[in-house]
């Protein structure tokens, strides 16, 4: 069946099907960026593993960071079905030719930030990612099904951290509020620029890669999050948030997208630190990859 027919019938495109080059390139760019985001996303949270406030919290955080590595691997595997090589994708990340989500260029200053990342950042990621489970490219959609199942644990553990802090001592509640204040707007930016300014959106919608517009998804996230903030007893740092009966949605203030574009350009608080850490980890691990390859070569020789 031809590509256009497949899409028209809401069918799935599989790796060896014929597909337009631009579709393939768009998928490689998006899946690679998504994979890079997962592994760079290990850094802000990994920062708190050694200082988690209890053994329970530490075990949970380690499981979560391990999940992020797993998500990266599912996605690199999905990208490779398009005929690219994971090592090349990593080279492009390290060389700055491919991006990762700008949210991970913000620092985790306190333990509460780990909660805010789980609740807001993973919450926004879930809203973005659930529709990707129906993406037209089969391997990407299947990877997203696995990822979405695991993300809901991530979001709940973040909510639980903030709930505990918000119902603790005044200093703990203030720490939770400060984390939410700093992560709220960057989380809204995760949905990308407004629909009118989004360069790839229309084509991705036509290809069935994207199912809902940036602004629709952002609204969905706000609608879902405002009542949760009330349960936490924390406020969201936007005085314009109020229920709009006519629209059936929460109104909210304008997002300052100049900040998003600055962070994407490399001028966020942690861009250089994240990349330096990533490159160092990759280079420091080279001997492990080489030793494993040498060992398996030696054993293959002995068996022959």
């Amino acid at each position: 069946m031809h590509f256009e027919e497949l899409l028209a019938g809401d069918g799935r495109v599989e790796p060896r099907d014929e597909m337009p080059d631009a579709y393939r390139r768009t998928l490689v760019r998006q899946i690679a960026q998504h994979a890079h985001s997962e592994i760079i996303g290990m850094q802000p949270e990994g920062n708190w593993i050694s200082r988690a406030p209890s053994l329970r919290r530490k075990a949970i955080l380690m499981a979560k960071v391990q999940d992020e590595a797993g998500h990266g691997l599912y996605l690199y595997a999905a990208a490779e079905t398009l005929g690219v090589d994971r090592a090349d994708l990593l080279d492009q990340l390290h060389g700055g030719r491919q991006k990762y989500s700008s949210i991970f260029n913000y620092p985790t200053l306190t333990w509460a930030d780990v909660g805010a990342i789980g609740w807001l950042v993973d919450g926004a990621a879930i809203v973005n990612q659930v529709p990707l489970c129906r993406c037209s490219y089969g391997p990407y959609a299947r990877a997203m099904v696995r990822i979405c199942k695991e993300e809901s644990f991530h979001q709940r553990q973040g909510f639980e951290i903030l709930h505990t802090l918000a119902h603790g001592a005044p200093a703990q509640k203030a720490m939770a509020q400060d984390a939410v204040d700093r992560y709220w707007w960057p989380s809204l930016m995760m949905f990308g620029p407004p629909d009118d300014d989004s360069t790839h959106s229309a084509q991705s919608m036509a290809w069935g890669i994207k199912r809902f517009s940036n602004d629709d998804l952002r609204q969905r996230f706000v609608d879902m999050t405002v009542p949760q903030a009330e349960v936490l007893g924390l406020t969201l740092p936007d005085p314009e948030i109020r229920w709009n009966d006519e629209r059936g949605h929460y109104d909210f203030g304008a997002v300052d997208f100049t900040e998003l574009f600055e962070v994407i350009k490399g001028n966020g608080p942690c861009n250089r630190e994240r990349m330096a850490h990533r490159v160092a980890a990759h280079e420091d691990g080279a001997w492990v990859r080489e030793a494993a390859a040498a060992y398996s070569a030696k054993r293959a020789e002995a068996a022959a």
Partner: protein, 93 residues
């Protein structure tokens, strides 16, 4: 430098079901492929058995030839029980 080959991973989720393809991964040899597959694809008890197969060993039918390859089954509707008319009142057939 990264000469680790690609492996396809199959998981049996519980006894009585067959192994199902879940994805792929890179590993230098079969033993590490199994260990990596356990860590990547069964962190939540998704499986009771794992297969890893070198991707290069899989021979696949060509999607471009799909119609010619599978069409011969198309006009043989008599292979399905619904093809047959059964007189009213006949049971256990």
């Amino acid at each position: 430098m990264n000469a680790w080959p690609l492996w396809e991973v199959f998981v049996r989720s519980r006894r009585g079901l067959s192994h199902v393809h879940v994805g792929s991964l890179h590993a230098p040899d079969a033993e590490l492929a199994l260990r990596n597959a356990r860590d990547v694809y069964t962190r939540r008890q998704e499986g009771v058995s794992l297969w890893v197969v070198p991707s290069s060993s899989i021979v696949a039918s060509d999607p471009g030839e799909r119609d010619a390859f599978f069409d011969p089954a198309e006009d043989k509707v008599y292979r399905h029980p619904t093809f047959y008319d059964v007189p009213e009142g006949v049971e256990h057939l």
